[in-house]
Every structure is written in C-alpha cells, then in structure tokens.
C-alpha cells in the first residue's frame, strides 16, 4: 500500500485547480487581445476557448479533469466602420476580434468561483484526514 492512495480526493481537486488556472489564462488572453487586429496567423485575434475532459485517476478513485485543448471560436469577426484605422479595407471597414469583453468577464467570475469550489473540496478532504487522525487520541 502506498501512502499516496490516501490523497486521491486531493489529487482530483488539484487537477480541477490546474484546469481552472489554464481557463483563467485563456480568458486573460482573450481580454488582453480584445482589440488586436494583427496575429502571427494573419487577420485579427480569434477568441480561444478551453475544452475540459474527465480523466480516470484509477478505478474506484474518481475522475480528475484535464484540459483537452484550447480551440479557436469559429464565430465571425466583428466588422466596424473606421476609415482612419491603418488596417481598414478600401471601403473603410476593419475586422475586429470576435471577443465580447462582457462575456469574458462572466467567464472569469465563473473560473474564479470554480477555483474556490475546488479549494473548498480540497480543504474538506484535508479536514477529513485530520479528523481521522484524531481517532487514535485519548485526550
């Protein structure tokens, strides 16, 4: 028996924390690039989204979460009329990123809360372990 098998609940919460951190990074880059009209791939910045997937830690010990990948949002770019913009086409229209900052803010709140929920689950697992250690005490 390995001692680390005592910590499967903590491992699962840890995977949740890591996943939410990656989600937070993606949201931050979406907000930071809300006005970016140039990217290495060409064209304006395309909003990114994380996809999560469940991973079996080991049989009977629950499933952790893993980021399966960061995928671009296929929705169309916003087109604004601004002939003074250096990236404007001959008709004066500029393609802007398909990022909605308000939606990103909501996603960010959700990521923060999910992170907190994972921390709470982790703390509960830790408290259970500490309580179990009290069984042996006489005083």
């Amino acid at each position: 028996m390995s001692l680390s098998s005592l910590f499967s609940a903590m491992e699962i919460s840890a995977s949740g924390l890591s996943a939410q951190r990656i989600r937070m990074n993606v949201i931050a880059s979406n907000i930071a690039n809300a006005q970016t009209t140039h990217t290495p791939e060409g064209g304006p910045y395309r909003r990114k989204e994380v996809i999560f997937g469940a991973v079996l830690e080991s049989a009977g010990k629950g499933e952790g979460v893993k980021v399966l990948g960061i995928f671009p949002d296929p929705s169309p770019f916003k087109v604004i009329y601004d002939p003074s913009h250096p990236d404007a086409d001959p008709q004066g229209y500029v393609k802007m990123p398909n990022v909605n900052v308000i939606l990103e803010m909501i996603d960010m709140i959700s990521a923060t809360r999910s992170y907190e929920a994972n921390v709470s689950a982790l703390k509960a697992a830790q408290n259970m372990a500490l309580k179990a250690l009290e069984i042996g005490r006489r005083y």
Binding site: S2, L3, S4, L6, M10, A14, Q126, L133, G136, R138
Partner: protein
Amino acid sequence: MKDNPIGPIDRSLEKLIQGFKQIRSAEGKNSTFSKILGNLINQVNDLQNKADEAIQKLVSGEAESIHQVMIAVEKADLTFRLMMEIRNKLIQAYQEIMRMQM
C-alpha cells in the same frame, strides 16, 4: 453460554490470540512490523523531500503553479502527522507494558 456475561469478551480474546498467531506466521514472509513501519517512514520521508523540492522550485521561479506547491506541503504535513500518531501509539503501548505488575 447464553447467561455467561464474559462470553463476548472471551470470544474477542480468542480472536486477538488468533490475530497474534497470524502476525507470528507472517513474520516468516518478511513483513515484520518493523519493516512495515520502516516502509511507512520511508514514504513519509519521500513526501517531505517532494515538498522541499516543490518549495525550492517555487522560490527559484520554476514552479508552474502555487497550488501544486501547497498540496505537496499539505501531503507532507498530513503523512507526518499520521506517522507521529502511530509513534505516539507505540510509545503508549510500550509504557503500558512497562507499567505491568510482575
């Protein structure tokens, strides 16, 4: 046997003796108590080292996340507490035996 109030205690004593016999027979299969304890202490030590390593990575800027460091430290703390609890029990048992009237 039904009116014998010592019956249940009697039976649990029998089970205890059987348990001791099992432990004695297991000794031959190189799983003595001291070895099990040594194994536990080694694992606790491993986790302590991992926590040290995690902290070192954090201060040198190599750590990818704070929570991994905190969880490593927490694991080390919990297993150390578990080991101390077992040690306390052992010492308690030893003192109990030393207090026995001859």
